[in-house]
Amino acid sequence: MGLIHYFASHHAEILELTLEHLWLVGVSMLLAVLAGVPTGILVARRPRLEKPVLAGANIVETIPSLALFGLLLPVPWLGARADRLAILALALYALLPIIRNTYAGIAGVDPAVIEAARGMGLTNSQLLLQVQLPLALSVILAGVRVATVISIGVATIAAAIGAGGLGEFIFRGLAMVNNNLILAGAIPAALLALAADLAFGIAERLLRPKTSAHG
């Protein structure tokens, strides 16, 4: 049975698992941004926090994903549903690039611009919203972009704990030694990653603050 034929006959299931995959990644990225960006801002405000926070995020990053899924399994509310657990694990993985890039983006704003802004009497929140975040935005987005692409790949492993997603095909294919099944999971996952990368690339360009009337 050819690959194309296989895809055609299973398109409904492929679509369903792709949507499930997108749900896992989408919700976890949303949580990671909601937690990671404010953490990055905090670290930029209090340089003393830089080392401990980044070290913590780094440690999470070094835990093998399969082990992290397994470790979270006994946690009461969380372990009750595999998708909750997968979403939390994916969000934890996404934290490091988001925190690091938010911090780097804000710390990278020209100190003279910050001094001038403070000297003009901007409040901390005006400084953050009008100056620091707009100037750091494309760097922050680059972090979210990396995190999303990684997350789409890691999310395939979530199927091992029954959280669904395109990993279902891959694990089933591995068990049945069926390449078509493996590819039915791998190809859409790869395409999703490429599409996400492309979309974020465009968003980065569109949201980069204008610094010239012609560009």
């Binding site: 003279a112 611009v113 001038a116 003009m120 009497g121 707009p134 100037l135 010239s212």
Partner: protein, 262 residues
């Protein structure tokens, strides 16, 4: 119309004869004392130039005025009121601030840069726009530049925008930290002349930091000589030129040596 607009906030908001006053101010950070026992009064409408080498405490002194730094001991007053009693945000909006690196917001047009503080202060949009045009003309720029971004301006234009931005909400006091230090000599001379002209028209209280004696004598109504965190004394340009104080003499001879070599 210009004169009327410029004098809008210029009348003294208190009865103190001094715009700024330092009383026995010390500033130390991490065991280093940068300003020692500074007592100094800046009169309304004068241009006081703080002259001294790098690291002599001039910039620190400037930042103690708008509370970017807080004194370790002693008191700074602005408009007859202790700076510590001012809300720092209100204080800074009352004081224009110009630095050597300019620090224009790269993602804002010239218009938004200059109009930022007036906008935040709630001026109606039309009034902000009018004010921006007025300030651009005041600092010798074509009002047509309002739509440009800082990256599209020359160094001299950027520093002019920096001055215009500092004057945005018409503060009675202006702090300038080596504003023309990074410009080429011709542009610098041009801006110095223009600024002296401007100052004679708008009559702000200006505290101006430089290490350039020529600039100090050209712009200052008084020159304060800083050495190693201490204020050695204040002189009118004439007094400075005639003084037999060793530090004045040293400055003059260093200046003359450069003048002769070139």
């Amino acid at each position: 119309m210009l004169a009327r607009a410029m004098s809008r906030n210029a009348e003294p908001s208190s009865t103190s004869p001094h715009a700024i006053e330092f009383r026995d101010v010390h500033f130390a950070i991490r065991g280093h004392t940068l300003v020692r026992g500074l007592s100094l009064a800046v009169r309304r409408g004068e241009t006081l130039v703080l002259l001294g080498r790098s690291g002599s405490g001039k910039t620190t002194t400037l930042k103690l005025i708008n509370r970017l730094l807080e004194p370790s001991a002693g008191e700074v007053s602005v408009e007859g009121r202790p700076a510590a009693a001012w809300d720092p945000i209100r204080l800074r909006r009352h004081i224009g601030y110009v630095i050597q690196e300019v620090g224009l917001f790269p993602h804002f047009t010239v218009e938004r840069n200059i109009g930022l503080v007036p906008s935040i202060e709630g001026w109606p949009r039309a009034q902000v726009r009018e004010r921006v045009q007025e300030l651009l003309r005041l600092v010798g720029l074509d009002p047509g530049l309002a739509g440009r971004y800082p990256a599209e301006l020359s160094g001299g234009q950027r520093q002019r925008v920096g001055v215009a931005r500092a004057l945005g909400a018409d503060p009675p006091i202006l702090l300038m930290d080596e504003p023309f230090g990074a410009l080429d000599p011709l542009t610098r001379a041009e801006l110095q002349r223009e600024f002296r002209d401007l100052q004679s028209r708008i009559g702000k209280t200006v505290v101006f930091v430089t290490h350039d004696l020529g600039e100090a004598l050209f712009l200052g109504s008084r020159v304060g000589l800083f050495e190693d965190g201490r204020l050695g004394g204040t002189y009118t340009p004439q007094e400075f030129l005639e003084s037999t104080e060793p530090s004045c003499v040293a400055y003059r001879s260093a200046f003359r040596a450069v003048a002769i070599q070139s």
